[in-house]
């Protein structure tokens, strides 16, 4: 900060090529006004559909089709949420989703941290080769493996169970391995060395030193996995064909087919499905953004 001030003062002292020191603050103000205006306009554009959804979700169905539209519902019909959630077994869908969530999160965190530790800390011939393979699988479109993997699970008799959606997580996922590895690399080796001198083995180093120090990264992995499972549509669509095994995503799609033009209920159900992610996002915004910063860009 201090150095920046010095530089700015210098800039005032040594003006060049039509540089007009007096107009600088005016121009800055002008730029700020433009930035605010554009940001506000953009935000309004983003928020209109959200507002529309909330407004629709709280209306009686008779008001949905009014022209001109009633922007603020009157009366506010909170019952829509109850009606929407009880008209299909959303409780079961929620339970199914949560089973997959827990299994996937446990599997991902366990496998990815072990693999990431290997890539971050252990030297072995072939390490770089496998790391490149790992990175390139991140770019591999899922479509090439989709059909054979389905056939494997079908052969195992796992279709219409949650296993196809849980078990692969125990084998790590390239993106999270990469993310954790990047984080592990930032932990000083001294801690580990000290623990090793005290006689700790690799497993102890991982569980007592690395993982406790990596809570932010593990939080990011957990949140992203949670979000991935919650939002997954194609996976459940392929593997879960019986209504009693549906996840929330499939349930909402089913609901959409059953309650055509009951827009207040459909919006209420969509809103319920979005809400946990919105809350999670507000609570853990830092973890979201840090996770992206950690992997997305290498400055």
């Amino acid at each position: 900060m201090a150095t920046q001030d010095v530089v700015e003062q210098k800039a005032v002292v040594i003006p060049r090529r039509g540089y007009m020191p007096r107009s600088k603050s005016a121009r800055d103000l002008f730029g700020k006004i433009i930035a605010y205006t554009l940001l506000t306009l953009g935000s309004i554009l983003i928020l209109i559909p959200v507002f529309w959804m909330v407004s629709s979700a709280l209306k009686p169905n008779s008001q949905i089709f009014l022209f001109p539209p009633q922007w603020i519902p009157n009366p506010i019909q909170w019952d829509n949420f109850v009606t929407a959630m009880t008209s299909l077994p959303f409780g079961t869908y929620f339970q199914n989703t949560m089973i997959i969530e827990v299994g996937s999160i446990v599997g991902t965190v366990l496998s990815c941290s072990v693999v990431a530790y290997g890539f971050a800390r252990l030297n072995a011939p072939g390490r770089n080769f496998w790391f490149v393979v790992l990175l390139s699988t991140m770019m591999l479109p899922g479509v090439v493996t989709m059909i054979p993997v389905y056939l494997i699970f079908r052969q195992l008799g796992w279709v219409n169970t949650f296993l196809p959606l849980i078990v692969p997580n125990f084998f790590g996922s390239a993106f999270f391995i990469f993310l954790l590895r990047q984080f592990f690399m930032t932990i000083p080796r001294d801690f580990e060395e000290a623990a090793r001198i005290d006689g700790a083995n690799t497993w102890q180093v991982l569980t007592r030193i690395m993982l406790p120090l990596s809570k932010p990264a593990l939080a990011t992995v957990t949140i992203f996995t949670f979000m991935g499972v919650w939002n997954d549509f194609m996976g459940p669509l392929i593997y879960l064909n019986k209504p009693e095994t549906y996840t929330l995503a499939l349930g909402l799609n089913f609901f959409k087919g059953q309650y055509v033009s009951q827009w207040n209920l459909l919006m209420a159900a969509s809103l319920v499905m979005m809400l946990p992610l919105v809350l999670l996002f507000f609570v853990a915004q830092k973890a979201f953004i840090e996770g992206i910063t950690l992997t997305g860009v290498k400055g």
């Binding site: 800039a11 930035a35 890539f119 391995i177 860009v297």
Partner: protein, 314 residues
């Protein structure tokens, strides 16, 4: 990075005969650690890829044994299948329009969000939020937004005297509607840009200011060149993503009307899991894979022309 964190104590440690054995056991330990991923790679990625290629050369309906047909699937797809070409056209149109639009749009928003004004965190949240929402819930929301009579889009257009088309119901507008909708959730690439922008050293701007460069010059001479690695990363991700659009097509339009939103992924899903033509669908999967691969390699190859890496010049 790897060299930085290399332990100094390695060389300082007295060299014991045990070192060799430790090296060996470290190798063993490394492979033990990565074994979950390695095994997973073999059974969920490498094996299936080979299997899928083989399946592409067969005809298989899941109920009778696979029948070897050689390259017939590919021949049929390319020469005798209007649906395939339609799905290519739809997917390519979507990619070529939505990828540049979302790259530029996300960059513009990120640049705005990078300006030092108060309340930025609030705006950042608003712009990012749509991209964390479940695709299916977003799809249901937008079906309602696009509703021809009562949807908010046409209501708003009505206010300024335009009578909007029936969007998802109109073969000329359905794809446009989906592209428009995709711009709503460009927050994902935006946040990556934002991280990239934060990584640009402020000394560059200070130096530019000293030399009297204005904001526009700074944008084109510093910000964008410095940001090219991030743009590159986003470009690859968006290309791969745009070729695999599925949920919107499945939940919003079912590929219609008149196949105007017959996305490749939707067509493939339909072949594999509705019509159970596993061999044919596998061939389709390999074609899509090849296309994505070619585009990705083109971008990577071209990157030396336009992506600027700091470390190269030092």
């Amino acid at each position: 990075m790897a060299t930085l964190s290399k332990p100094i104590s390695d060389s300082a440690r007295p060299r014991l005969p045990r070192v060799n054995r430790w090296k060996k056991s470290e190798t063993w330990l490394f492979y033990l650690c990565i074994s979950p991923w390695l095994i997973g790679f073999l059974i969920w990625t490498a094996g299936p890829m080979i299997y899928s290629f083989y399946l592409g050369l067969t005809s298989w309906d899941l109920f009778t044994a696979p029948r070897w047909v050689g390259l017939d699937n590919y021949k049929d797809i390319f020469t005798d299948n209007p649906d395939f070409w339609q799905s290519m056209k739809v997917t390519a149109t979507y990619s070529f329009v939505s990828v540049p639009l979302s790259l530029v749009g996300a960059l513009a928003i990120a640049l705005l969000l990078n300006s030092k004004v108060r309340g930025i965190a609030f705006f950042r949240t608003i712009f990012y939020l749509p991209s964390v929402l479940p695709a299916i819930a977003v799809a249901v929301l937008w079906i309602w937004v696009f509703n021809p009579q009562y949807g908010i889009l046409n209501l708003l257009l009505g206010l300024i005297g335009i009578s909007g088309p029936s969007w998802l119901g109109d073969p000329h507008w359905a794809l446009t509607a989906l592209i428009f909708m995709s711009l709503w959730s460009l927050g994902g690439s935006m946040i990556i840009y934002l991280a990239g922008l934060k990584g640009i050293s402020s000394t560059l701007y200070e130096a530019a200011e000293l030399d009297g460069a204005n904001k526009v010059q700074q944008l084109f001479r510093i910000t964008i060149p410095q940001l090219t690695p991030t743009i590159f990363f986003n470009l690859i991700l968006s290309i791969i993503g745009s070729f695999q659009v599925f949920t919107q097509a499945y939940a919003m339009t079912k590929g219609g009307p008149q196949q105007s939103t017959l996305f490749y992924m939707y067509y493939l899903f339909d072949m594999a899991f509705i019509k159970f033509r596993m061999g044919y669908a596998s061939a389709l999967a390999w074609i899509l894979f090849a296309i994505i691969l070619v585009f990705t390699l083109l971008v990577i190859r071209s990157s030396s022309l336009w992506v600027y890496y700091e470390s190269e010049t030092k």
